[in-house]
Amino acid sequence: MRWFDKLRLRLRSLFRSRRVDNELERELEEHLLRQIDENIENGMTPEEARLASLQTIGNLTHLKEQCRDECGLNFLDDLRQDLKYAFVTLIRNPGFAIGAIVSLGIGIGAATAVFSAVEGLVLNPYPYTGADRLVVMSQAEGAEPSRRTFLTGDQARLLRQARSLDAVILWDQSWMWTKNEGIPEMVQGGKLSQNVFQLLGVPPLVGRTFTDDSSTATSDSALVAVLSYRYWQTHYASASNVIGRTLQVNDQPYTIIGIMPERFRFSNVAFYIPYPSGNDRRSTLTLLRLRPGVSTAAATAELQALVQQQQFDPTKSRGGRRDVRVSLTTLRDDEAGNLHNMLGILLGAVTLLFVIGCANVSILLIGRGIQRRYELAVRRAVGASQRRILRQLLTESLVVSMAGGIGGVAVAYALLALIIAWIPPGVIPGEMDITIDIRVLVFAAVVAVLAGVAAGLSPALALSRSQLSGVGGRSEVGTRGTARTHRLLTLVQCAATVVLLAAAGAALRTLVVLTTAPLGYNPQNVAVFGATLHGSSGTQEMADYAERIRSAAVSVPGVESVALTGPQPTPPIEPRRSLIEIPGVSDDDQEVVTDEVSREYFSTIRVPIRAGRIWTDTEDRRRAQIGVINETMARRYWPNGNPIGQRVRLAVLGNNWDGSTKSPANDQWIEIVGVIGDVRNDGLSKPVLPEVYVPYTLRALGAVLLLVRTAGAPGGITDVLKRKVAEINADQPLMASTSLEERLWENGWARQQFAASLFTACAALALALAVVGMYSVVACTVSLRTREFALRMALGASNARILREIFTSAMMTIALGMGGGLALVAILHRPIAAWTESSLLSPVSLSSAMITLGVVGCCAVLIPAWRAATMDVPARILSAGE
């Protein structure tokens, strides 16, 4: 109970201080009265007795103060006083207060926000059981880049025998045609093998998930669907009576059996239906889970052996396995690999920003301590104890640190919201849940407060020791040590700023290179609509139907031309490759990019014809086996001859768009009739790959894209277009419109722009903080040496000389810092180059970093130096008492 008594008394001192004070008064009074009584008893007159007893008790005020100290009353009084004083001085010196608080706030906030983002993305991205063991399998042959492995049901069964695997999940996602309350719509739906929900270990929010008997036993006839949380919200308004209702998917009635919780966003689709286990010949996407404790390397080795031994060929129709290399990527790296690397670098960047911020606070506190050395010396002289002064100074630095910490919390939340808003769509897995990590926030705040205290402590110690004689004798308290510390801090700041500027320069350069790289086509003013061609796929009838939709689109006012393509990505994003056999050129199969387009494609996106012709309208409709190639292909395979009239065999034509092999009406051979200009097709920065374009009617397509070139911005045509299409078929869904440019941004440029803006923001903040630091250091030096300068000027030194002296010494420090920064860049270059495509060592970005810092540093230094050099000499000397 002792701690309880102690606590009670402390609280009493804190909240009932007046009463405690009063009791002390009464207690001592009582003692005095008794002393007087005793003295009277001993024969003194009342007056004598009073005087005598006061004498015995000694200095009553001093005694009271001692007792108050013991009760902790003085401590609190002092604290209150110190706090009040700290606030008053801070308000009276807003430049210092704002500088320090903003520096700390930005440092803490930025570090916390980015740490939290990394935490959400890298450490805990998925709500699944054993999420860190989920891997995606890819394989490559020879020098080819690796591709995802697609497996059939039979192959998956073989794979399940692998000892290093815990589970094999088969899944697929595609645009599905739904009818909900009579409204047709195309949405992304997922097909999952029935074990998925159990394996991922996420229970449904409402209802149930697939059970084994709901899909295996009855296979395809099990028409059940589990809704995603978002789809349930947007399409059913979170109604509770959804279970048991019917959802029309691809003309089949599915019964809704469950709803998943919000964080379950496997492949980000609207709903899940069972993956038909009867269809074992079709290959599909797979997700593997390693057994606990099995390393990726061990699993890769086992799967490699298995794939080679079983000779199963998931992507090709022809056999002939040579050197297959299997690789496994964790689900996280597969979905967000690049971003997570970038966040890693960003983490380094904000750490540097944090260091710069802390250095700033130290600089400001030290400088402020120096400004106040006379005030403190005077206080010391009139009786303040060293401890007392130290406490007051520490209170002040704590107030600043705390304010900075609170600012940091606000900055952290704001920044994280910005980061989340900035992350380009589709870059992060939907399951990710980024929130501020309280532990990180507390950690950053504690570090910042410690930095403030440490920074406040050294001048506080030096100053609290100072004697009045020091002030009288004009000796500069702690000057030399302070100057050295200041120089060191500036050096660190400059070095860190150079690194950040170089990083921002590199990111910006990459962005400029990407956005200005010629695409080979014109993406401006082209709107994109998607349409599922449902019902009549793979036939002449379908081709006619698609052509009717196309004509309807052409008749919309403002439309210049309309092209149809297969459901493919916008070049140059994620090219679709196919094996090709080129007789007379190469014995081995080659790999080319393929695109299925209508004849209007080339004129609509403005690709020039180099030789030969494009197929005609009738050839398009009767599904003629002809195609055109790009210049790169012509150059590579027919460097001297004429490609026109040559025949090649495209393996991809053997499969229909939805993966089924049923009756493609072609023998995979096509005749080359023309050569067109190169369009970038393998990312924005890589060289163009050989490419073959074939009529989109050659394969049975479940869906087409309409590329609509308009005279002006393509915004306004959507409604008219939808009406026109509805006139043809009221049940024909049209996917929401985007434009080619938007698609390019979302898939290619946005990511780089995101990186560039983050790094630029980081560098700009660093530069701003460093400017505050450099300015304060020079201002502090000047104020320390004012008297010296004034004296020298009075003795005949010119303004220019003084200016030059201050300027050179400050610029020396900055130059040294920049040198340190260059060294850091050279050291960091290698690890960072392993993470990104952009190089820190580009001379352009490095030299612009140096020039920026140099110019800005010059200004920051010149202002206080100029002020010192142009001061009014006699007035200064006369007012030297300060």
Binding site: R2, K6, R34
Partner: protein, 109 residues
């Protein structure tokens, strides 16, 4: 009677604890009691008594209570807490060992 001996550093706390161990006392009574029991050899200076009392109270060894005293006025009475008693016994033990040791040294040399 010679001049009263100054208290050995640190022993005042122990004397106070011992004095209030018997019954609750106010500051004046504590000082008087120590003086009286020591045969007027020990004089407790008021300058040390009250800070010491407050220190002991803050540490939870003694607790205070306002009561009407024999003068009819309210006085602050201090009494020993349970933790205080334990602490006092430890202190007494220490003191005994120290004084025995000193006695030994003083007698033999």
């Amino acid at each position: 009677m010679g001049k009263p001996i100054d208290l050995v550093q640190g022993t005042l706390d122990m004397l106070i604890l011992k004095t209030v161990a018997v019954e609750p006392k106010h500051g004046w009574a504590i000082a008087k009691r120590i003086q009286q029991v020591s045969g007027d050899e020990l004089q407790v200076p008021q300058g040390s008594l009250y800070p010491a009392l407050h220190r002991l109270e803050q540490q939870g060894w003694i607790k205070a209570e306002w009561r009407t005293s024999e003068t009819g006025r309210e006085s602050k009475f201090y009494s020993l807490t349970r933790a205080g008693r334990k602490h006092m016994e430890k202190e007494l033990d220490n003191w005994n060992r120290l004084s025995n040791a000193i006695n030994l040294v003083v007698r033999t040399t």
